[in-house]
Each structure stands twice: as structure tokens, then as C-alpha cells.
Amino acid sequence: MANSNNERRVISVVVMNESSVLARVTALFAGRGYNIESLTVAPIPNSDKSHITIETKGNARVMEQITKQLHKLIPVYKVIEHEEMVEKEMVLVKFPIGTNMSDIAALAAAYNGGIVNVGPEMVVAQVADEPKRVKHFIEAAERYNPCEIVRGGVVAIER
């Protein structure tokens, strides 16, 4: 574990939903030189809390420090270093209208997604799946010359 450098990790941080709390969390990462690979944040329904999911990299000692430093922030309730988790990520890909639509539909369907919008000049496909599969989908989609790819951050929940 100690020598597994730069291992990918997902952390959930439950915080008080108040102004500048996200800035406190991201400033901590920037100030102490930790990486943020992706970040999602949204209020937890029916509560005064928010859930932040951070995808990061680091060895065991760095991860321990990140967890402890996050805990030190006053508005942080809980830090979960995910071990056994279900994680999902979402991506939207925009193709020009000339692209073979059945190819795109089939491709998105293979990754549990589909076409979510068709306009006069473009088609938008959506996939929400495990981060690894989302990555594969993007690689496959790139063969069809997409005009835009928007990837969301990871959300995770402990199993």
C-alpha cells in the first residue's frame, strides 16, 4: 500500500451547505499540493448539508493527510475514503448532424446510454457509467469526430 504511488482514489466529503465551503475544500487541495482529478458537488436532499465527491491521486501517506486535513475544516462533517463503492460518471457528446445516427445510437446503447437530443445541426448522446467505461466510450466516440465532449465528475456511494 505504502509504495503504491499515485493510486487513484475517490473521497466523499459531507459538508455544511454554506457559502465558501467549496472554496475551503479546493483551496486546501491547492495549498497543500494535492491533485483534484474531478469534483462534483450538490446539496443532500432534505438537509442543510452538501455532498462533495473528489477523485484524486496519491500514495497512502498523502491520502491519510488529505483525509485528516479535510476533517480539520470546521464545516466538514464526514470524510469517506471509498473502498467498496458504486461509482458513476456522466458524459455528453455532441456530433454533427451528418454523422451516421444509427452508429451513434448503437455505440451509446452499448454503454447503457442513448441519443438524448437531436437538433437541426447536431446530435447529443449521453452515457452514465463507471468511469473506466465512460473513458472507453469517449475513445470510441472520438472516431466519429465529435464537436464537443463534456464529462461530469465522479459520484460514488459506498456499497
Binding site: S20, A23, R24, A27, Q65, H71, I74, V76, Y77
Partner: protein, 569 residues
Amino acid sequence: MQMSGAQMVCEAIIAEGVKTVFGYPGGAIMHVYDEIYKQNGFEHILTRHEQAAVHAADGYARATGEVGVAMVTSGPGFTNAVTGLATAYMDSIPLVVISGQVPLSLIGTDGFQEIDAVGISRPCTKHNFLVRSLEELPRILKEAFYLARSGRPGPILVDIPKDITVDVGEFKYPDSVHIPSYKPTYKGNNRQIEKAVDAIKKAKKPLLYIGGGAVLSNAYKLVRELAEKTQIPAVETLMARGVMGAKNPLLLGMLGMHGNYASNMAMSETDLVISLGARFDDRVTGKLSEFAKYADVIHIDIDPANIAKLVDVDYPIVGDVAQVVQKMLPMLEDVNTDRYQAWREILKRYDELHPQSYVDSDEVIKPQWAIERLGELVGEEAIITSDVGQHQMWAAQHYPFDRPRQWINSGGLGTMGFGFPAAIGAKRAYPEKTVINITGDGSILMNVQELVTAAEYKIPVINVILNNHFLGMVRQWQTFFYEKRYSETDLTFQPNWKALAQACGGIGYDVTTKEEFDAALKDAMAQNKVCFMNVAIDRFENVLPMVPAGGALFNMMLPPKIENDGEEK
């Protein structure tokens, strides 16, 4: 009761029992100053710079153990205070700093004297608040004081927009706080404590490694009891000077970059480090892979993030030093103190081999002599503050500190200009005590305007300037590591110190001999006025021992010794 936000600020300060506030008014904080004018619950000291206001509140807090309070205006008032916040943050000092802010409606418009105070101070405060409504002001003030002093203490900034200080509303100061996401651990896990005690009983060469946390938790009596009961030798960090007491035979001295030989060797050879509120700072450890290489580590710290941050820890104990040691003591009734006898003897021999020493002179005052002389003349009674540099290290090495909170210096951030305003704060807290700022000809100029403050309020702080006409510590590194290229460290051009002190309402003394030193100090203490003692010292004296940065603790550059034949070796 109905009152304005400005009045609420004053009422909260009074409710918290604060007797002295240090500050500097300005546009955005004027309503609060208007209320300060009307009240009688606390005094306000007008420093001549916002940085000095925060350092003075900091010195007050370090001397008393209570929360220090400073007040500044928005924009430049706040940015001037940032160094003070960072200084307190690095040394875990409880402060509440109240800053004015532009009115809520102007925030984000680049208004006059607007700056994002909570954004700037985020990494150098324990927590900060931008007050967004009058309703939340009493709660925030209560939380600020609570957060400052609880857990691992630290500075808290409360940034208050001007319109909130004007608005009138109902005031009820809360009796308690409710912050569900903040629950510091004080007690220490019993099972972990038992394991640690077991390790102490099994060790052959244990060592108490005492840090500033022992001062902050007011644990010195318990720590001394722990040492005496177990007869385990102790080393102190820069921040812990005074915890064991200079006369304590179990105290080896200060360890680290400028630690003495026995302390650094003890840390290099120990088989069990018992860390009491220390944080393994790089100035203490030197090369990490060689630090306490043969030792298991017991780490007692109230901040879990300090544990295993830099070294692997075998017995982590999250808790307050005083409470954990209190639990340990009865478990150590049956400890066999003879077990560590051989270890104590080894360390005694180390100390005899290379004691903390210097070569004195009859021609020029040696800085170490000056410190030791101060110790002889004012000793246990005085509070000693310092700036940052050679004089700070000489003071830490040679002054006979006898109790915690007697030694006040900026350890973590290393802030030049800290000593004088901190001395003003300490003297205000303890007017009956002699307060001496040991400083250098570089540092003192960084807050020299405070001569005016000290003179105006009759705060008779004695500034002993160990004057080598150099930015001494940088010069020392240039001598050792930069082939004597003295880049921008020669301070030969100097003010007339005596005249400078006099011009601001104080007294000055030029000291070049030992007799003049004694006479000046005696006169300074009798005059009861702020003063400068300008002491000309040996220009090229170095702070030794020294562990070059990043080197192993046992590789020390040692001071020259006088051998039996009278020659310097």
C-alpha cells in the same frame, strides 16, 4: 435587547472577559470604534500599524493563555494584519481578529478599500467568517471565541460589512455553541494510552520530546511529574522552552538545527520517542530518514493531522497533552527508573563532551554572554520575547527559562518584527513583570513605529538589540554555504538608536562593554520607560551547534572549545 451590530461586537468582547483590544481604526470599522469610544468594558490600545496590533494581541494571548483580540479596518488594514494571522496560525495561538468590510451591497464591486478578506486569510486562519446578516452576528462572535481557544487553538477572522455594524436588531449573546461538525478530541483513547505506557516500561532509551502543545495545554506540571516519576530525560523544541525548567537535571536542552549536542544525540540514539505536543518540524528533525532512526514513536497530539504527517508513528494518541499525561501517571507507579540509568549516563557524558558553550571575550560583548547576563539579572521573573534570527536562537539556547509562557517568539512562521509588539501585549497583560524583547538590528526596524505606542501608553518594554551590523542569520548561512558573499546583509548603515528611541518618547542606551550593559539594564528597569539597549556585539559570532538544513541531527557543526592550555580549538 435592541442594539447596533457595532454594539454587539463590543458586548461580545466584554462578555468574553477580554480586557485589552489592540487595533487601528478606518472607514469600514468606524461604527465599531464609535461604540468603543462609548463603552467602559475594555481598553483599546492604538498600535501604529495593523500588523503590530495582531502581534500585540498574540503576545497577550501567549503570555496569558487567553484569547487575544485585534481590530482592523477593511482593505489595507486587513492585508497588513495577514502576517499577524499567519504568525498566530503557525504557532496555534488563540486570536479573534475583527475586520471591517465594505457594505454588503458593494462586495464584489472592487469598492474603495475592498479586498476578499476571507479568501486571503483562508490558509492562515483556523477558520474565518464573512458576516452576511445581523441575525447571525452574535452566533458568529460566540463561535469565533470558542473555535479560537478550543481543540488545537488558532486565529479566527470575523469580517463584518459596514452596514451590518450600523443595523439595529435584537442581541442575545449565546451561552453555548452548537457546531456539529467540530468535535475536538481531548481525552485520548485508553487502550492506546495503555499500550504507550507498556512501551515506556519496556524501553531502554526513552526520550521525552516536548513541543509547544505542552505549553498550549498548560501541561507543564504534569509533564515535569512524568519526567520525575520515570526519570526519563527530556528535550524541548524552540516552542517548549520553559516547560521543564532550566534547572531540571532531566532536561538535556533544545534539539534541532541549533540544538545542543546531547539533545540531538539523544534523539538520534533513543529507542522510544515520547512526543508531547510536538509536530516534527523540519527545523527539529533535520534529515527525516535519519531522525530517531532506532526508535518507536509515541505521538500525543490534539490535532490528528499532525500524527504520522512526517514520521511513522507506532502509538498514536489523539488528545490534549495534559489530559493524556494525567491518565498515564498512575499507570507508571511501578516503573523501574533504574532501567534508564545507563541511558542517562550516556547522555550525561555527551553533555560533558560538548556542553552548550561559547568563547567569551574581554574586548567585545559576546551575544551569548549578554543573554546569560540577562538571565542572571532578571531570570525567572521576566517575560522574554524575541524577533527572528541569530538573537532568537542565542536566547533559546542560553536563557534560563524556568516556566512556560515566559518565552514568546514566532517559531513556525519566523516573523521578523514580531518581538516588540508581542512584548507590548505581554507587558499589558502583566504590568508588574519585566518584559524584555531580545532583538537584532535587522528585526527591530520591522515594527519600530511601536516605540510611539509603547511611549504613549507607558508600556515600558526593554528592547535589547544585539547589534552586529548584519542581518546575522542570513550572514551566517552566507559564511557557511555561500563562500562569504554577503549579499544584502551588511547593515552598517544604521539609525542613531538612542536618538530614535528618544525621538519617539523612549530612552536609548549605547552599550559596548559588560559594565555598560549592567548599568544600562539597571537604569532601564528604574526608568520605567520604553527603551532601546543598543548592544554592540561580536560581528561574526555564529549560532552553534548547527545542523545544516536537510542534514542528519547527529552531524553538527560544533562551537570552538577552550582547551586546558587556554587556546581556542
